[in-house]
């Protein structure tokens, strides 16, 4: 689905941001890209849909070479959600805002209506279609932006810190929608700083540091590499740190989310209870 071969990217001032990246993302994956600020995460994402063209190497999206394809063409294959919804919202109704991308790609008016409605429904905004997007809350505006990307019905969805600047619930709502989309078979690539979200939702984690991949593997594998995480100013999720403390005392196995931890504890307590009852 996404093939990155020896990708190097330098800005015009000579700053080398990405160095010889090789990443392969298959259909249906949920990959999180993490790393400290300035590691090149956003630059990598922008290389995926041709907003930036590789200095060296090659990026293939569904077989299309991004250096030879316009972003407006790649937009049919790959949806891109930015951190700040206010960079894209300009229409006077939510409906028009969601329909913008569809009109750009030349879809017929009859189809647009149902596609917009479906997209709005996925993000829970179907009753807001006639509202002015600027009158909505920040969390809702982010969902409008997400719907406008979803409406394009692309197979790949790229999210650049989709939960930044939102409260906890707003962030969770976005992530639940994304999880559902992944379950329906969409490929998700997400940049985030929130390790709890990574542990809870991602299936694969890639750590970027100074433009190179230092870790790439399943969420469990990568999140237990404390050294690599520390190098990138990151910390494993709290459930993992707590489980580590318990392990030193000889209890429990590795857990990464609160739910797993809870399961561990409850099964242990049940065991104790049964032992007492016997």
């Amino acid at each position: 689905m996404i093939r990155i071969n020896n990708l190097c990217y330098r800005y015009r001032n000579g700053n080398s941001v990405l160095k010889n990246l090789n990443i392969n993302i298959k259909s249906g994956e949920f990959a999180a890209i993490i790393g400290q600020n300035g590691a090149g995460k956003t630059t990598l994402l922008k290389n995926l849909n041709g907003l930036l063209k590789p200095t060296e190497g090659q990026v293939l999206i569904c077989g299309l070479d991004t250096s030879k394809t316009k972003t407006s063409v790649l937009a049919k294959k790959i949806g891109f959600l930015f951190q700040n919804p206010d960079h894209q919202i300009f229409c006077s109704t939510v409906f028009d805002e969601i329909a913008f991308g569809l009109k750009n790609t030349g879809i017929s008016p009859n189809e647009i209506e149902s596609m917009v409605y479906n997209a709005a429904k996925k993000v829970g905004l179907e009753s807001y279609l006639k509202n002015d997007p600027f009158s909505l809350s920040k969390g809702q505006r982010q969902r409008v932006a997400l719907a406008s990307v979803l409406a394009m019905e692309t197979d790949i969805l790229v999210l650049d810190e989709p939960t930044t600047g939102q409260d906890y619930n707003e962030g969770l709502e976005i992530m639940e929608i994304v999880k559902e989309l992944n379950a329906q078979g969409k490929t998700i690539v997400m940049v985030t700083h929130d390790m709890e979200l990574v542990a809870k939702y991602a299936k694969r984690v890639i750590i970027l540091m100074k433009g190179t991949v230092i870790e790439d593997g399943t969420t469990e594998e990568v999140l237990s590499k404390e050294e690599s995480l520390a190098q990138s100013n990151l910390k494993p999720p709290q459930a993992y740190l707590l489980a580590k403390k318990f392990q030193k005392q000889g209890f429990f196995r590795n857990t990464y989310t609160v739910e797993d931890m809870f399961e561990e504890i409850i099964s242990y307590l049940r065991g104790e209870q049964n032992a007492c009852n016997d």
Partner: protein, 256 residues
Amino acid sequence: MPAMIEYIQKDSFFHRLHPITKILWTFGVLIISFLFSTPLPIFIILLSNILIAVASGIFKQVFPAIKALFLFSLLLIVFQIFFVTEGNTLFYAIPFTNIGRVTDVGLNLSLVMSFRMVATVSTIPILMMTTPMTDMVVVLVEKLKIPFKFAFMFITALRFIPTLLGEIEQIMQAQMSRGYNSDTRNPFKKIIIIIPLAIPLLVSSIKKTEKMAISMEARGFASGPRSYYKKIMMKKEDYASLFVLISVIFITAIVF
């Protein structure tokens, strides 16, 4: 990116001069260019501007501005030259016809006009590129008694140009990711096509302005008399340069 007029850090004689000396220089160039009514001396003043730019090491950055001014002055010449009927005929724009008569007076007048324009206007980018904005504001407010709020408005407007260019880039990328395509040659379509960029830019600028106003107020903006951290003094070089400038003006005024 368009040619930007902003301070370029260098350590040259002209850079070290007091901002007032440089402001007076721009007025001096203006006065001298209007004292002369033949093209050659004005052209020499123009050359002196370019020499100052070269000596200050900013010629590369000033050049686009001067080039643009020259193109504009060509336009001035074209609009002027054919409408002067006095004087002796030099030649016709289209040979062997009576169309486009050019007289010696007309040629002289239009050359004077265009050189004057380039000579006087080109001092402004040179002034801006050799003087830090903050120094300029300190001088304008302290020495020339311009209200600080006006000076502040001016400096902030200039400071925001690169910020807004960055913002446009972000917006452009967000819209391109949704299939927005900005290449069109049709000027009417160009106007429509700009809406998805203009509205988010407007909205975010207003928000930014609001935030900035609040944060400035929180730090006591306009709460009373200001003090300035930087003291800029006139030095020997300034007095010497001003002496040269004033003598040149006097000599031209008396001799010519």
